[in-house]
Symmetry: C2
Subunit: 375 residues, 2 copies
């Protein structure tokens, strides 16, 4: 009865975890949830009745113009008429997958990579090649998916050399670069955040970002820009997907973007403090269990479990949840057919410092107990 | 470079027309645009910071419960845990197409039918069988798409016998019924609006509706319910498409739904008046040019051109737009491979009565001139 693609549509662990993190007392390191304390005040005075009517599929003109200026500031040459407003950047993945991916299409990705992107590529029948940021061999894949700035889940930020190398590899392999950049505003230390797409010379490219992390995910708003040849197709796909994005959200975001810039400073100060506190707890509790890099931006620590603590983290999650702590298991971040390294993705931005201390202590105890009982 | 499906992705005439209808002075009979005068007042007091966070893919619990009660009132037995909130009902078409349609899948539709549904089914590679409401032969199609209440574009409302016959045909052919019901609240005369899905006995089914027509399209909010076996798949597809719908929109709609019911009476009075005025002008100007049925609900008159005025309505549209009048040409409402009857879809709800009179006069003159010059 179903289309063949439905065989590849598995329940996402994100969904399963989002279901339980609302339980009273649950300490969550699971989602990429921004801190509720940082959400903006909303004011409907920017909305009038015309914004309740149908609008253009591309998005509202003023917002597209503002986004184009943001994109130019970060080094990406584009214009408002090549900006497409999205219903969150998850939608961008759906549109790009529709444009390029059919059964057997090879997609080149870092391993690990964002699990909900893999879910969409899987749905359309993708096969995968893995590449590493240090030596990006793209394996003849027509599409390359990358999160060069505060990668999800590893938190890695590509160096200038890595950015240029990826762009060159895409040009040489004639692989379309799909750069996903939702975390860029959450930056805590000096680092290069130049869009890799700005270094592309010949190949086609799509660059997308989101307002979910820096403003509010509940508004479901993101945006993309792309090389000229792709834009009309992506607009048609957008129209077929949902006609256009919520116009109230578009007005609210535009209004917030036009306000002061102090917001971003407060946001990054808040998150930097949480990151640093979180890392102290990790050093205290996990130094012998796992290895990690301190992320210079974004929302996650990626803990690679040491061989003596190697464990199926999906099994670990079940025990952890029953002890009141949620995290994201590492396995779903690996594409099918490629080797997974046991790891945990820990969000440091959502839990309070006190809750983080408590949750990490519980989590470390569970891992120790699980691995001791095994010996 | 592109996936094969992109060959079937053509520019939609809806998009092209939406681009021009904002021109000053343009009289538009084109879109399914509700009257701006009828939009509700919005008030953000129902939104607090928790609604700015990520939410469940299925939609917010309170809204799902309210929708479930609405669905039960209209005769569809369902529960809140089988309600999925959509980013407009266009998204429901995308999700259902992903679930059932792959290259060569036969979809049974009325001819003509909603062009943006055809656009999505085309994208996923559908072939078509046409059925008629009087004698629904479904041609062994695994999926049947129907708009039984105030059909788009014809405005036809199925009789009780037609509703039962379609349900029986789906049961007998084991064809999944996808019932699209966005216009049901815009009802001007007595008629049967019982969901055809409520008569299904064995087959699977999906029923969807929208808040765009009765509240505000700019909020991009709709909903579906379906038979039990389909629900988990549709939720996963929804998650992959955009994680969840805008939570501000969900709160605003819930708040409006909880308010008085006088709104709907005012809305239907307003539209009934426009319909009646529009029909008088049609009778005055088009009686010899076309045939039509007075729609008992919805937003459209469907004018079937008489043989002596038969003309390619896409060509007619170009001339009409340059004279300041937009309408929807009939051809795109016919699936590829099935015979189109020359017709025009005229929206009667958006233009003021004075603008409608003027626009219809211009349109009739253009048709007469085009057909006279031909003789």
């Amino acid at each position: 009865m179903f289309a063949e693609r439905i065989e590849d549509l598995v329940e996402s662990p994100v969904r399963e975890i989002l279901k339980v993190i609302d339980r009273p007392g649950m300490i969550s390191f699971a989602g990429g949830l921004p801190a509720t304390e940082c959400f903006p005040e909303l004011d409907l005075s920017c909305v009038n009745s015309e914004h309740l009517q149908y609008g253009p599929s591309e998005g509202d003109t003023e917002l597209r113009e503002h986004v184009a200026s943001l994109l130019c500031e970060r080094g990406l040459e584009t214009t408002a008429d090549r900006v497409l407003i999205l219903s969150g950047s998850q939608q961008g993945i759906d549109l790009v997958a529709k444009l390029f991916v059919e059964r057997g299409t090879r997609v080149s990705v870092e391993t690990p990579t964002y699990l909900a992107a893999l879910q969409v590529f899987d749905l359309f029948g993708a096969e995968y090649s893995g590449y590493s940021a240090d030596n990006p061999v793209l394996g003849n894949a027509p599409l390359t998916y990358a999160i060069p700035t505060f990668q999800n889940p590893t938190g890695h930020c590509y160096s200038d050399a890595q950015r240029r190398a990826l762009a060159l590899a895409c040009d040489q392999a004639n692989s379309v670069l799909f750069e996903d950049d939702p975390y860029r505003d959450l930056v805590y230390d000096d680092c290069d955040r130049t869009p890799v797409c700005s270094y592309i010379r010949n190949s086609e490219w799509v660059y997308q970002s989101s307002f979910s992390k820096s403003y509010a995910p509940g508004l479901r708003l993101g945006y993309l820009t792309c090389s000229e040849a792709l834009f009309p197709h992506l607009v048609r796909l957008k129209q077929a997907a949902d006609l256009h994005s919520c116009r109230i959200s578009q007005r609210l975001i535009l209004s917030l973007l036009q306000q002061s810039s102090s917001r971003n400073q407060k946001l990054t100060d808040f998150y930097r403090y949480r990151r640093d506190h979180f890392e102290k707890a990790l050093t205290r509790l996990f130094s012998d269990i796992a290895d990690w890099q301190r992320p210079v931006g974004g929302l996650f620590f990626w803990l690679a479990l040491r061989p003596e603590f190697s464990i199926d983290t999906r099994e670990l999650l079940k025990r952890s949840i029953s002890s009141g702590v949620a995290f994201m298991p590492g396995e779903p971040f690996y594409p099918k057919g490629l080797q997974a390294v046991p790891g945990l993705r820990l969000n440091f931005s959502h839990a309070s410092p006190e809750a983080a201390d408590k949750g990490l202590q519980i989590l470390a105890s569970i891992i120790r107990a699980a691995c001791e009982s095994r010996v």
